[in-house]
Symmetry: C2
Subunit: 214 residues, 2 copies
DNA sequence: TAGATTGTTAATCGATTAACAATC
DNA sequence: TAGATTGTTAATCGATTAACAATC
């Protein structure tokens, strides 16, 4: 991988910030402006931009907003849409199926799967919900590479296994459980418990700081 | 902060893994077992455990499952429940309100707020949805410190500002937008676009590896 | 010209991994 | 006793930040 995970993680935030500037008619932008808006270090912003941009920034004037937007969109593949399927049409699955914002990020959820007869056969936000048994057929027919897991944690490993067997190459896991998959399968675990732990600890340490004996 | 962010991020996964072992009747566990189950390095696991545990592991036998569970729960504050409020009772807000799993992590969402007359006055999973104007009153009355933002990104900054004004000390932000808050407010941004970027890039680089000319 | 800003090299910081003595 | 496993020190790796010459 030629770009670090840390950099990649920041790029979508740059892009959103630039969209906003562009919308306001700002045609040129400096690393200091971006860093200021996102609470980052300007040097870090310049280094990140250097990785993705095809044109150099100009001393004194900075970068051209629209050029930078184009480079970032290109690098992140936002125009190169990927189809995905989702397994688990419960609360969270429902929310993801109902959210059209992922289209901007080049993600197109085409169908969902579940084992609950109550939702199988219905459609959510125009996306059909199939029985789990049809997973291999649909994934194969449309050559889908990306799978989203929104089932309860006890069911998640089996779902992952079935996705891999069906030919899925990348898994976005929202279940609260580490999943074991072959090394050639990409996996991203959205661990909300871990996020919450981080937030709670910040909260507690700030409490401490405020109650410090002086 | 005496424990690193990286360590803190892993602790909830250890705990879930240990619950599973305990359920299976496994009374002792080594760092190698934990590392193997979670695709981590055993030394890293031992160092992380050293930070939180009150009793030392024993050479040859490892750690006592139940002791380690108790230490982790204690460290993460899972028995020390925090009340929270949520703003934005849309799809994602609905899913979070409907999910009772956060109770295990010591998080108790007590109420939601929205500006949509269609949901205000209703209740979701037993939690009342109030009009946004009542935020200061409820936050003040129950002395709530934690706020969850699940509104569309354009509305997120204003919601954050109103949370801070009402006395919220920590914000869990699910909107696709960086939010500026005073330095004494804890903030955790759940950036799904960034996650997706990471996953897509993994997928692409694996494609590359497989199509490498030999 | 003077000053703001870039791109890059070097220094620092933090986290992971390797090595290994201690010990149950 | 021998071997597995711990806890810790040292080495490595990766990412951030500081310093600064180049330049528009």
């Amino acid at each position: 991988m030629e770009v670090s995970k840390a950099t990649l993680n920041r790029l979508p935030a740059y892009l959103r910030f630039l969209y906003e500037l562009d919308r306001q008619g700002v045609t040129r932008v400096s690393s200091t402006t971006i860093a200021g808006g996102l609470d980052l270090n300007p040097v870090q912003v310049r280094k990140d931009i250097a990785v993705v941009s095809t044109v150099a920034g100009k001393p004194k004037t900075g970068y051209i907003t629209k050029e930078l937007i184009a480079d970032l969109e290109n690098f992140l593949g936002y125009h190169n849409t990927r189809d995905a399927i989702l397994v688990g049409a419960g609360g969270l699955g429902h929310a993801i199926l109902g959210y059209d914002g992922f289209a901007k990020y080049g993600l197109n959820v085409v169908a969902a799967f579940d084992i609950d007869g109550g939702v199988v056969g219905t459609s959510i936000n125009g996306k059909p919900v199939y029985d789990m048994s049809r997973l291999p057929e649909i994934v194969g027919r449309f050559n889908i590479q990306l799978g989203i897991i929104t089932v309860p944690s006890q069911a998640a490993q089996e779902v992952a296994d079935r996705m891999v067997a069906a030919g899925i190459k990348a898994i976005w896991n929202f279940a609260a459980k580490h999943l074991n998959v072959p090394a050639n399968i990409a996996m991203k675990h959205e661990d909300l418990a871990a996020s919450l732990a981080l937030l709670r600890m910040q909260l507690v340490s700030m409490d401490d700081a405020n109650n410090q004996p002086q």
